[in-house]
């Protein structure tokens, strides 16, 4: 079967763009999640036509196809749970057009976020999602996961900036979705549906993106808090005050300790830090926003507040923030940072309560959890830190995930605000949004009747994430 598959694929793409050596399959079998499963073959298409021909073939032969950018997603998005073809999209990486008169650009899906921003910078524009992973995240992956980031509190997530796209459907048909205009009421906005569809509805082969002017001034503030709760209240009040932060981040003591240890950042050893930023064209307007946010920090006992327009200092702090996730693995010897229960979003008014609850649940279940995130947009990042080699810790993790998401649902939050559902968040999300499942299944069936596109994810994912695939760690016992 495999030989026939390779032989057929060679008729579509050149041999040098096909890999089926077990070593390659093993590498493409994992991403930044805890999951692992092997594909049958990895293919690197270079043209839209090649993608179309691969899809036509896979659809006829009922072979699963999993699109993959950098493979940096965190919940098993690219795990080939049923085997099949992994489409490595990184070779389709041309910036096709920067059309400033229409304030947009057109790109292939393999373009890396930072590369696009480097190309836009000389024109005074940027592509706004800004995930911490921007140095490697591809536009296709950002669309697949509806990526957002540090500045989404002001500029929105990927979905807010995608105007249109070319998509190859499961049957190989090429469709043009969306428009080149800022508004469009011509039919269902299927381009928006594609964003966040986790590779289950079609292969994005080109995207038209709205770009945003770079602000002239950017000011970053840092405020320290002795109580996590007070930091949470500050965030809620800043958002309710009508302020317009371009970034509003929270970091708890565990996060502070981890980045200090790993990156020697020298942040103060306090219960929590809030990073707040404003940007704009006029300095007085930025000052006005910053002063307003500073006053709110002070009202909630924020202290040691510093504000700076210095780009170097900003870069230093952002670097710490962008590397926080990995730094957590250095928090305590033998304790590893796993990407679980990592990005719930809750209403602003619940950030403080949720932060406290996370620590309580963690303690009760023998794991460590850090609380940080783009709390201005309601996104709370946590990571479950545990001894991944011990089987019983996975039982602990299972309980934590369940309890935490039940709580998030109860307070009106959502399972994922940023990274997506895929496998490890699917059971909790399915439980919370039972009503959605038939609708989503109907959409999936309409667009992918043979269930070949990234199958068994989201609404179709297994009910137990721990056993959904092999775990990528060597677990004993």
């Amino acid at each position: 079967m495999k030989e026939a598959l390779i032989k057929d694929l060679k008729k579509i793409v050149s041999e040098e763009n096909i890999r089926d050596n077990p070593a390659d399959l093993y590498v493409y079998g994992s991403d930044a999640s805890v999951h692992e499963a092997l594909p049958w073959v990895v293919v690197r298409p270079k043209t839209i036509e090649e993608v179309q021909r691969i899809m036509r073939y896979a659809n006829a032969e009922l072979i699963p196809v999993i699109p993959r950018g950098a493979g940096s997603s965190t919940s098993g998005h690219t795990t080939p749970i049923d085997g099949g073809i992994v489409l490595d999209m990184k070779q389709m990486n041309r910036i096709l057009e920067i059309r400033l008169q229409d304030v947009l650009c057109r790109v292939e899906p393999g373009v890396v976020d930072d590369d696009l921003n480097r190309a836009l910078k000389p024109y005074g524009f940027f592509w706004p999602p800004a995930p911490a992973s921007s140095r490697i995240a591809t536009i296709g992956g950002e669309i697949g996961a509806n990526t957002s980031g540090l500045r989404s509190v002001k500029y929105g997530a990927t979905r807010d900036s995608v105007l249109g796209m070319k998509v190859v459907l499961a049957n190989g048909d090429l469709v043009n979705l969306g428009a080149n205009t800022r508004v469009s009421t011509a039919g269902y906005q299927l381009e928006k549906l594609m964003v966040g569809s986790e590779g289950t509805l079609g292969i994005v082969v080109e995207a038209t993106l709205k770009v945003v002017p770079l602000p002239k001034f950017r000011c970053l503030g840092i405020a320290n808090f002795n109580k996590l709760e007070e930091a949470g209240e500050t965030i809620s009040e800043i958002m309710a005050s009508g302020s317009s932060p371009s970034m509003l981040e929270l970091m708890d003591n565990i996060g502070i300790t981890a980045v200090n240890k790993n990156l020697s950042l020298g942040l103060p050893d306090v219960a929590a830090i809030i990073l707040f930023e404003a940007d704009g064209k006029v300095k007085e307007a930025v000052d006005y926003e910053m002063e307003g946010m500073k006053r709110i920090c002070e009202k909630h006992n924020g202290f040691g507040i510093q504000m700076s327009y210095d780009a170097k200092e900003r870069t230093r702090i952002y670097t710490g923030r962008k590397k926080l996730f990995a730094s957590l693995s250095r928090y305590k010897e033998g304790i590893i940072c796993t990407d679980l229960a990592d990005d719930m979003a809750v209403p602003n008014s619940k950030v403080a309560e949720c932060a406290e609850k996370i620590h309580e649940i963690a303690e009760r279940n023998n794991v460590i959890m850090s609380v940080y995130g783009h709390c201005g947009s309601g996104v709370i990042h946590t990571k479950i830190m545990m001894d991944v080699r011990k089987k019983e810790q996975w039982e602990d993790a299972r309980r934590v995930v369940e309890e935490l998401y039940d709580y998030v649902d109860k307070i009106g939050g959502v399972t994922s605000g940023e990274h997506g559902i895929a496998l490890s968040k699917a059971p909790s999300w399915k439980k919370a949004r039972n009503d959605l499942l038939p609708v989503m299944r109907a959409i999936k069936k309409a667009l992918d009747p043979n269930n070949i596109l990234n199958p068994h994810k989201l609404q179709d994912a297994p009910d137990d994430w721990v056993t959904a695939t092999k775990l990528r760690y060597l677990v004993r016992g």
Partner: protein, 351 residues
């Protein structure tokens, strides 16, 4: 496969969150661009060997050896995971499992027979000063250059002591012959019994610093940078670019010293597109020259093209392997670029 060495890296391999941040600058990934060619992919393969989930094969071993140990991935890693160290362990386990390459064995045999990588008797220019100086294989072979660099030290007030030396063992460590490394280290210690000394070669300085915990090698450029201002060097009035050797910039953190020297000797430095700790590798390290020569050559050609693209015809560097690899690329490219050791420019400014 037995994983005697990789076993020690399980925790680090778990700490790696598989974020792929390390893709960004890996020179091998940039050339070959399959994920198994990048640092994260190699870490995953090492994990597979450790867990027994992937078979050790020649194909896999080739991947593990296709790395120039440039440490760009270490610099970018969010979790401070050292891929080169993990690969060193993986290489050692693969070698013990029988994955031995003729080119590697040939090189190591030369060292075992003669104490240097060239496989013939070479004696250094013995000098009876006060400060021990280790030449390293490459400068041992370039005796005239070595003598000039020793003269630089002398003019800067250091009395070099040069003795018959033997290879520090770097190729054994890097190519996975860990068990034999120990024997070479013993030989090295016997022939070169000093605790504090100056290294003429970047790679020896870095390797010894990392693998001989009790020794304190100092890289020659540290001394030159410190002393040169007091000796009134001439201004050369040249325009040149500078290639940061990986072991020097990322390995030992010396980015400013060479630039300060260039400034003092009146060289108008035109920087390459990537520099300092973000500088691209020339492909000469990690045994890549013997493991995959054509790939190492392609990487050096990239660096040469970048230099020519900056409109310069002189590229200065410090590591003799960078000099060798980019120098060969320059020759293949028609000799438009002249590759020199920065110490030669210092010599011009001092004489």
């Amino acid at each position: 496969m037995k994983t005697k060495y990789l076993k020690e890296w399980e925790n680090e391999l778990n700490i790696c969150i598989r974020c792929a941040y390390c893709f960004e600058g890996c020179p091998v990934f940039k050339q070959l661009s399959w994920e198994a060619d990048g640092p994260r992919g190699k870490a995953v393969l090492a994990y597979g060997l450790l867990s027994g989930e992937v078979e050790p094969t020649k194909y896999l071993a080739d991947k593990i050896f296709q790395c120039s140990f440039c440490r760009d991935c270490v610099e970018r890693c969010s979790a401070n995971v050292s891929i080169p160290d993990i690969l060193t362990a993986a290489r050692a386990d693969l070698v013990n499992a029988g994955f031995k390459y003729d080119a590697h064995l040939d090189l190591l045999d030369k060292i075992k027979r003669t104490g240097n990588i060239f496989g013939r008797e070479i004696h250094p220019p013995i000098q009876g000063g006060e400060t021990p100086v280790l030449l390293g294989c490459r400068f041992l072979e370039r005796a005239d250059d070595a003598k000039r660099y020793l003269e630089i030290l002398r003019r800067l007030g250091i009395k070099p002591k040069v003795v018959d030396e033997t290879c520090c063992g770097m190729p054994f460590g890097v190519l996975g012959y860990k068990d034999e490394l120990k024997a070479q280290q013993d030989k090295f210690r016997k022939k070169f019994p000093y605790k504090e000394f100056i290294c003429m070669c970047t790679t020896c300085a870095f390797f010894i610093g990392k693998n001989y915990p009790d020794l304190k090698p100092k890289y020659i450029i540290e001394e030159v940078a410190k002393r040169l201002p007091y000796y009134n060097p001439k201004k050369l009035g040249l325009k040149a670019t500078y290639h940061d050797p990986c072991n020097l910039a990322r390995g030992m953190g010396m980015v400013d010293e060479p630039r300060e020297i260039l400034k003092q000797i009146g060289v108008d430095l035109i920087e390459l597109p990537t520099k300092g700790k973000g500088a691209e590798c020339c492909g000469g390290g990690g045994g890549l020259l013997v493991s995959d020569g054509p790939l190492a050559e392609r990487l050096a050609e990239r660096r040469m093209d970048q230099a020519l693209g900056r409109g310069v015809d002189i590229l200065a560097t410090l590591c003799p392997t960078c000099e060798f690899n980019i120098g060969n690329a320059a020759q293949r490219g028609g000799g438009k670029l002249k590759v020199v050791n920065l110490l030669d420019l210092v010599w011009e400014a001092l004489r």
